[in-house]
Amino acid sequence: MTARQQAVTWGRRLAAMTWKEILQLSRDVPLLLFLLYSFSLSVVVSGAGITMQLTNAELLVHDADHSHSSRELIHRFQLPYFSFAGEISDPREGLRQLDQGRVMLLLEIPPRFHEALMSGERTAVQVLVDTTNAPQGLSAAGYSVRIAGLFGSETGLASAGLSGAEAAMPRVSSAHRVWFNPTQDERWFQSIAHVLRMTTIFAVLLPAAALVREKERGTVEQLLVSPLSPFQIMFAKVLAMSGVILIALSLALYGVLHPVFHVPMKGSTGLFFLLTTLHVFTTAGFGLVAATIAKNQAQVGMMTLFVVGPMLLLSGITSPYESMPKWVQTVMTFSPLRYYIDITYGVMLKGAGLDLLWKPVGAMLLLGGALFGFGMWRFRRQFQ
């Protein structure tokens, strides 16, 4: 046999094996239906439904002054951040509602509030914030302080007859320009984030489960005595599953992200798919390593859960990566999702090309190569 013929048979065997995996997957109707749901309807719901920005924080007011100034201040707590939940006459009622979690803030305005402001005295309002959810509570407190502070300095200066001269005062203001998503449409972020989550979960689980299934049933021995090399067995699984995931991803991209949320694709679509394939392969590497350690599917489930959980929560889509403790950032250099996040948002929203993205791409290549190599090595050793 010439080298060319050998390559052809090698390729044919790989193709046959890949086709077998696809057939096997296509018979699992519940799984396929679920895959479809995950990349379509589920993206719509999560994309449209979630806002992490402070919105509609229920604000209760106890106004002991009932003056022009107090009403003016209350009026400044506005949507989208705050929604006015009513006024109460007894502060204890406010505490009760906070306990029940019905409102998030209670604003207390003292008596003589207006009088003090007008006569140039200092005065204070009290804000009680529910911080059972710490970031949201802090954010709400921050907004309250800013709103009241600005209101105070405006009325204070006005009472001294300085409001007309405001333009000629040494103030520092900032003009904000928001890039890549100028309208701050959070649905762009959330829908992309959801697709990233789904891609990652499926990329870890599908090949891992497919490999362990063969081990558990003992069919892997049959495959190994066949003329297939261990590499072909493993690689065929990854190939088949990646193909399926890529199809599902394009469904999400062209069926949901573009038409429903109008998410732009500023960079090259080809590059995006190429790098997605790289991500799927690298992530699948984790699954394969887990699959070589596990003896049955229950074990592989627990093991992948162990990897996927931190990956989803700590890679930077659910929490800000920069503010993580250093050790988490170090551990997360092993998460392909961490690079894929930069790549996806870079290509889709920022229009970045390979010239800017070579660092995450290189890191992912290294990681993917290492994982595949390690998985291969373990797989071979187990069966020889």
Binding site: D28, L31, V45, S46, G49, M52, Q53, L98, G101, M104, L117, G120, R122, T123, Q126, V127, V129, D130, N133, A134, Q136, G137, L138, S139, A141, G142, S144, G149, G152, S153, S159, M169, P170, R171, S173, S174, A175, F180, N181, F189, M198, I201, R213, N296, Q297, A298, Q299, M302, V308, G309, P310, L313, L314, P320, E322, S323, G346, G351, L356, L357
Partner: protein, 376 residues
């Protein structure tokens, strides 16, 4: 029956080890590692003024723990590139004549460029910039008023800053992320691990065919289902205790509520989560499908709709509906309520009732779905 399932589970050492280890390890990793406060925002600076005042102004950003200084840029093009590469998330451009204008009593405008890819972080970063500007402005104003009006520091201060805001943080007095995260993480780990354990247990029998032994035996439907569930409920409840001990002992989260209430809510919740696993396992044929579907069904709504990260109040209507259709939200309320707020059954009874209803509905549903004569 339960004994048989128990033996089968315990025989698999690695699996058992993971079943107990996973929740505990997760609590440690996320409890220490998951920081939701936006800090260390990387930023770069283009200072066109190079004056003492512009340096003083920029210094406030460099010293703030919310920002992390990455260096000076020479022109706007360099800033563009850094933003596109995600090396920085914010840029500040101080205009020429910054010091001159302020000294002359005129307003000055600083430009900030923000990376809008993550709207939440953008919004928070914008807030920090505004806050620093406000503080800087107040100082300039006080200084200005003293100079032009001959006021004392005290008088000028009262004019510029007449209103202070006293903020009282309730339930989590030091506003620690860990305090609010750890109780919710107890929910998170339970929600993920228990259904997975259960789902795989049943489908394993289906796939290997040993379920036909059950079909042909005298074991009744109810016996089979409870037998399947019981070991996993026991494992999960042991985990509840371990997690509770860790939360109180290791993370020093105060537990202000009633332990009995917390524990009975946990029993109900664990019945729900294992029930979800059982339900899925009855609907699918292969372990692979069970594994993936359970993981997605358990993980995604729990991360997004349970109140773990985003309060349910700030979801849109569609998402809110989904949140209410899922037991995780009620249990989050109970866990956070018992840990941080110290409220009792008088406040939490609606959540308890909802959990109980879920538990009953799920077991009813699984009982209906499980027949000893499946269609082939």
């Amino acid at each position: 029956m339960a004994l048989k399932e128990w033996k089968e589970t315990t025989r698999d050492r690695l699996f058992l080890l993971l079943a107990f280890l996973l929740p505990a390890l997760w609590l440690v990793v996320f409890g220490y590692g998951l920081n939701l406060d936006v800090e260390n925002i990387p930023f770069a600076v283009l200072d066109r003024d190079h004056s003492e005042l512009s340096r003083d102004y920029l210094h406030r950003f460099m010293q703030s723990r919310y920002f992390s200084f990455q260096g000076y840029a020479d022109d706007e093009r360099a800033l563009d590139r850094l933003l596109t590469e995600t090396k920085i998330r914010a840029a500040i451009i101080v205009p020429e004549r910054f010091q001159e204008q302020l000294a002359a009593g005129e307003p000055a405008s600083v430009q900030t460029l923000l990376d809008g890819a993550f709207p939440l972080h953008t919004d928070i970063a914008k807030g920090y910039v505004i806050a620093i500007n406000q503080a800087f402005t107040e100082e300039r104003l006080i200084e200005y008023l003293r100079r032009t009006r001959g006021l004392t520091q005290e008088q000028a201060g009262a004019l510029v800053r007449p209103l202070t805001v006293e903020v009282r943080y309730l339930y989590n007095e030091e506003v620690r992320s860990t305090w609010s995260m750890v109780p919710a993480l107890v929910m998170f780990t339970l929600m993920l691990a228990s259904p997975l354990l259960t789902a795989l247990g049943v489908v394993r029998e289906k796939e290997t065919g040993s379920i036909y032994n059950i079909y042909s035996s005298t074991v009744s439907r109810a016996e089979f289902l409870t037998g399947k569930l019981l070991p996993y409920i026991v494992i999960s409840l042991v985990n509840v205790l371990v997690l509770w001990l860790m939360a109180v002992g290791l993370f020093q989260v105060p537990f202000k509520g009633n332990f009995l209430l917390f524990f009975s809510a946990s029993v109900l919740f664990v019945c729900c989560t294992t029930g979800i696993g059982l339900l899925i396992s009855l609907l699918v044929q292969t372990q692979m499908a069970a594994l993936i579907i359970t993981m997605v069904v358990a993980m995604i709504p729990t991360i997004l709709f349970s109140g773990l990260l985003v309060p349910v109040a700030s979801l849109t209507r569609g998402a809110k509906v989904q949140a209410h259709l899922y037991p995780a939200m009620y249990y989050t309320n109970i866990v956070r309520g018992s840990f941080l707020k110290g409220v009792g059954a008088d406040v939490l009874w609606t959540d308890l009732l909802a959990l109980a209803m879920f538990a009953v509905a799920l077991s009813g549903l699984t009982y209906r779905l499980f027949t000893k004569r499946p269609k082939t």
